[in-house]
Assembly symmetry: C2
Homo-oligomer: 140 residues x 2
DNA sequence: CTACTTGCAAAATATTTGCGTTATT
DNA sequence: AATAACGCAAATATTTTGCAAGTAG
């Protein structure tokens, strides 16, 4: 029997209001503002509980630190090289990816796609001529 | 100045001959057969060195344990739910994936795709209608 | 009440690092 | 001979767990 506690509610509410796929420690830092005596173990414990119950999902994408999000459906992620934020990417070709594997006899149940690069906020301004002296203009 | 050592050669040779994307500990277990006094730290140290030099690549796909491979080009992976082996998947739609993100203003430099499911060896025999017998009846 | 949950500290897991010694160039 | 690399142990970093005390149902 899972009991409702102030800690659980606060942790879930915090995650729901954070679109950047925070780590357990980020969530800990945030909930501590409202509940200073909460333990990091409680945060980890409840994030694991929610994950096991299928209410949230855990993203093991950023090397070492797990991140969490409220979405539980299959979708891609974009992880910025500079600010390290993680964004959701709606995939349109999941079918295609699956087919590639299926052709070789693999049975695909789900996938994890992480794109790396620069998010809009972290890209150097491209419209300004003033920075053109740096001469770095990435082209496809 | 990077010096050539028996340890480095053995570690690299072991990785080159293993197509299953082994972890550092797997590699350690393997090289110890030939060099019993080698240290796990040496394995980790050299895997990191090779990775930093771009000679091999590190895969952070399996939650906790890093895996390594000799390929350094961008490609996908299939991670079996049962045997936990990791296989290479040649992507044909990397462009498409990139475009999805680019349309939203993201600048994609590389990607990581991990498909989860069952590899050919771990799939239950599908031809049999009944599961009356424990023995698998291969009939390809 | 009594079973689940918390907070704290210690343990567990994975990887890195300090240091004195060994081996490569 | 100089210095990169090794082996070992200790240190880090992240997450989990044992336990006594607190709290929800």
């Amino acid at each position: 029997m899972v009991k409702k506690t102030r800690q659980k509610e606060l942790i879930l509410r915090t995650l729901q209001s954070n679109p950047f796929h925070p780590t357990a420690v980020s969530i800990y830092d945030e909930v501590r503002k409202e509940m200073p005596h909460i333990s990091l173990a409680t945060v980890y414990r409840n994030l694991r509980l929610f994950t096991d119950m299928g209410e949230i999902s855990e993203l093991e994408i950023s090397g070492g630190l797990s991140r969490f999000e409220v979405r539980t459906d299959n979708h891609g992620h974009f992880w910025c090289n500079t600010c390290e934020s993680v964004f959701d990417i709606e995939m349109i070709d999941k079918e295609l990816n699956g087919r590639v594997a299926r052709e070789k006899g693999f049975e695909v149940s789900n996938y994890r796609l992480v794109l790396r690069g620069l998010c809009p906020d972290c890209q150097p301004a491209r419209q300004a001529d003033t920075i053109s002296s740096l001469g770095k203009e990435p082209e496809d």
